[in-house]
């Protein structure tokens, strides 16, 4: 971390020196943000996923998206990747004979692809017009088509390849998961978690989901445990952990009531890694997997975000416009000496 900081400082001093005001280039390091305390998210456990794609269909319906076809007969929705019209997709990992589920070799596995709702989102830092913003309370990364200029910088910036533009339309928008925030006011949460039959996709506060993920990682593979479904609330988590329900922990009210949907299941063979706990400062969507994450398309990312690096550079060079004004002052002073007022545009002498 310090070497990175020092290198950044050096790199910036170099730019400052070129601009001619090396000494004013102060590195105002912008730390990587972390998940807000009330941040909402999902926990996707690949070992529980059966690849039924109920979540994909539910996402389409909840977001009013048309089907997309990759087969000749065009019988049903078969997108190969997320797109401007597909915000959630279950992808398949295949190896050799594909005998064992969640095995790296001769196995197969599933992986959910959708917005990770980063703690420090690259898309938000990139967007020039604040059309991508991170909700300060629940941390949902929201998109506003009424501001969006369609520059697609967010598309290029996202480390997970998530926002996608609708190229087939003259008024195309950016499409990506917003955790079904338009359904929250009716008490509904993310459609994918609502319909998931196995609880492979859970909705809840990221802090709660993280504890649940860690509970699973601590279990012995092959043993039997209780798995929740749908919306994992704090109280339920405490029950799963065998702890008394902490008093005074208030959940946001207004979520629709659900019957207990817990079930008993076998513990999978997990990679000891909660994906999203540390990556780029953390993400509000967390993932567990039996197959190494890089194999199932989750990139290896450092614990600091590229948004922080980019903004450190920007703010060191342009923060408060201090350096530009200082340089402008110097340039004006020099130019005043060298440009003669009455000569022909400065030089015919």
């Amino acid at each position: 971390m310090t070497t990175r900081r020092n290198f950044l400082r050096g790199a910036l001093a170099a730019t400052g020196a070129i601009v001619g005001a090396g000494s004013t280039a102060s590195v105002q390091a912008r730390e990587t943000y972390s998940v807000p305390p009330e941040g909402l998210g999902l926990l996707y456990d690949a070992t529980l996923c059966i690849g039924c794609k109920a979540c994909v269909a539910a996402c389409k319906e909840a977001n009013n998206n048309p089907p997309e076809f990759s087969t000749v007969d065009k019988l049903w929705d078969t997108p190969l990747d997320t797109s401007g019209y597909t915000f959630n997709l279950i992808k398949m990992y295949r190896s050799g004979t594909m005998e064992t589920k969640d095995a790296e070799n001769n196995g197969y596995a599933f992986m959910k692809t959708s917005c990770m709702h980063c703690a420090d989102p690259s898309c938000v830092s990139a967007c020039p017009v604040s059309a991508m913003i991170k909700n300060p309370t629940n941390g949902i990364v929201e998109y506003n088509p009424d501001k969006c200029i369609g520059c697609r910088y967010c598309v290029a910036a996202c480390p997970f390849g998530i926002p996608k533009y609708q190229y087939d339309s003259p008024t195309g928008e950016i499409g990506k998961c917003e955790l079904c925030r338009h359904r929250h006011k009716d008490g509904h949460y993310s459609a994918c978690a609502e319909v998931c039959p196995t609880g492979a996709t859970l909705f809840g506060k990221t802090s709660v989901l993280l504890e649940e993920a860690k509970r699973r990682l601590a279990l012995k593979p092959g043993s039997v445990t209780t798995y929740p479904r749908g919306h994992l609330r704090h109280g339920q988590l405490k029950a799963l952990l065998g702890e008394p329900e902490g008093k005074g922990r208030m959940e946001r009210t207004g979520w629709k009531d659900e019957p207990n949907q817990n079930y008993e299941g076998e513990v999978g063979n997990y990679q000891q890694h909660v994906y999203g706990e540390k990556e780029y400062g953390g993400t509000q969507v967390l993932k567990l997997s039996g197959v190494p994450f890089e194999k199932v398309g989750m990139p290896k990312l450092p614990p600091y975000s590229s948004a922080a690096t980019s903004e450190t550079i920007q703010h060191s060079l342009y923060g408060g416009l201090l350096m530009p004004i200082a340089v402008l002052g110097a340039l004006t002073w020099v130019a005043k000496r060298n440009v003669k007022p009455e000569d022909e545009e400065g030089g015919q002498s």
Binding site: L80, M92, R152, Y153, G161, G297, A307, K340
Partner: protein, 396 residues
């Protein structure tokens, strides 16, 4: 008055004259019309109808070439103005106007070209709306600086029009403030040319390590200044050949030396950064990125062999070649960073998704059309307005 007022006697700029209709302007006209038709289709049916852009490659040549490379090619005005007014090298003054004209056209077109690429262009006012702007966004800074610079350049160039239309009063008034305009016209390109490099930083892992570094702003700025001089060499040679005028060798020879100095500074930073970050090994191996890296390096290093000696710098053909090499090098640095080095996230490798991008013919024709506008406008303006130094006054 100023120190150089007596030491340099320059030819006053004058219109070149001659016909506006010739083979070059005619071909330009056809290309411009073709572009207009393609753009009509683009605006009616969407970006996907004419471009090869896709979910893996959100940016294509309209951004990488028309805007990023185009604006760097348009740095001649800024590079020369800096030399003349900031470093007080008055002898280069005759180069200012032609270079400024090329910059003005290049930047104005890059600015307009952005609109073609914007998927929701009618919202573009948000870029300047206080309630919408995002000062953390590198693109915001680039957009505002480029817009301001285009306006500043038109003011800088205004005396040319004032002269043509005999508006002496306006010209005299403007000349009182010219120093401030020139200072601003030096600062703004420094800001956005460096930020064009910073654009890549937030893309993190998607950009190959040979081109992803916090030194990007410094690298892009240094190379843009260098390219500015290269473009002046290129364009002076070309204008002299096309208009059958004598080449200003007494200016270009020392200018080439300045250019080599900048180039050396750039190369030291570029290679030093690669070594310090430990990214250099990535240049050895058989990959598209490695090949393009060496192509880029070749273009940056070759000029030292072509015009490294003082004798060679007095040879117009060699200056021309060196200018082209450097323009290519700078163009490759940008093309590489924005397209070749850009690696889309594909997720699960066995899911059958693979992205590739190669511009479509209509996409290329728009880029060509933009270039045609530049050529067309340059010819019309230099033939009718006082831009190039008057020919009959042979400088000593």
């Amino acid at each position: 008055m100023s120190t150089h007022s007596s030491s340099h006697v320059h030819a006053k700029p004058a219109p070149v004259g001659g016909p506006l209709f010739n083979a070059v302007t005619l071909i330009s006209g056809v290309l411009i019309l073709t572009m207009a038709v393609i753009l009509l289709v683009r605006f009616v049916y969407g970006l996907g109808s004419v471009t090869a852009l896709n979910d893996g490659y959100p940016w294509g040549i309209w951004i990488a070439v028309d805007v990023v490379i185009g604006s760097a090619f348009a740095c001649g005005g800024f590079s020369v103005a800096m030399l003349v007014y900031i470093f007080n090298k008055g002898e280069y003054h005759p180069l200012v106007r032609p270079a400024l004209l090329a910059s003005l056209l290049g930047y104005t077109l890059a600015g307009v070209g952005v609109i073609f690429d914007l998927g929701r262009w009618w919202n573009v006012w948000n870029m300047f709306w206080p309630g919408s702007v995002n000062p953390n966004s590198v693109m915001f800074e680039v957009a505002v600086c480029i817009t301001a610079y285009i306006m500043v350049m038109w003011i800088e160039f205004a005396p040319t029009f004032f002269e043509k239309f005999g508006m002496d009063n306006a010209k005299r008034k403007l000349s009182k403030f010219m120093f401030a305009i020139i200072a601003l016209g030096t600062l703004l390109p420094m800001m956005h040319q460096s930020s064009l490099g910073t654009l890549l930083v937030v893309m993190g892992e998607q950009v190959h390590p040979l081109w992803q570094t916090p030194t990007l702003p410094a690298l892009y700025l240094l190379s843009a200044i260098t390219m500015g001089y290269a473009v002046v060499l290129f364009e002076s040679c070309l204008a002299s050949a096309a208009y059958r005028r004598s080449i200003e060798m007494h200016l270009l020879t020392p200018l080439a030396k300045v250019m080599l100095g900048m180039l050396a500074a750039f190369l030291i930073l570029r290679l030093g950064d690669l070594v310090v970050r430990g990214a250099l090994p990535r240049a050895f191996g058989l990959s598209l990125e490695a090949v393009f890296f060496w192509l880029e390096m070749l273009c940056f290093i070759a000029p030292f062999f072509v015009i490294g000696s003082a004798a060679n710098r007095r040879n117009p053909a060699k200056l021309f070649v060196a200018g082209i090499l450097l323009m290519l090098g700078g163009a490759l640095l940008r093309l590489n960073g924005f397209l070749i080095a850009y690696q889309p996230v594909i997720g699960v490798e066995t899911s059958g998704v693979n992205f590739s991008y190669f511009p479509t013919l209509p996409e290329l024709l728009v880029t060509v059309g933009m270039f045609a506008i530049e050529v067309f406008a340059y010819i019309v303006i230099t033939r009718r307005f006082p831009v190039l130094p008057r020919e009959e006054v042979k400088p000593a």
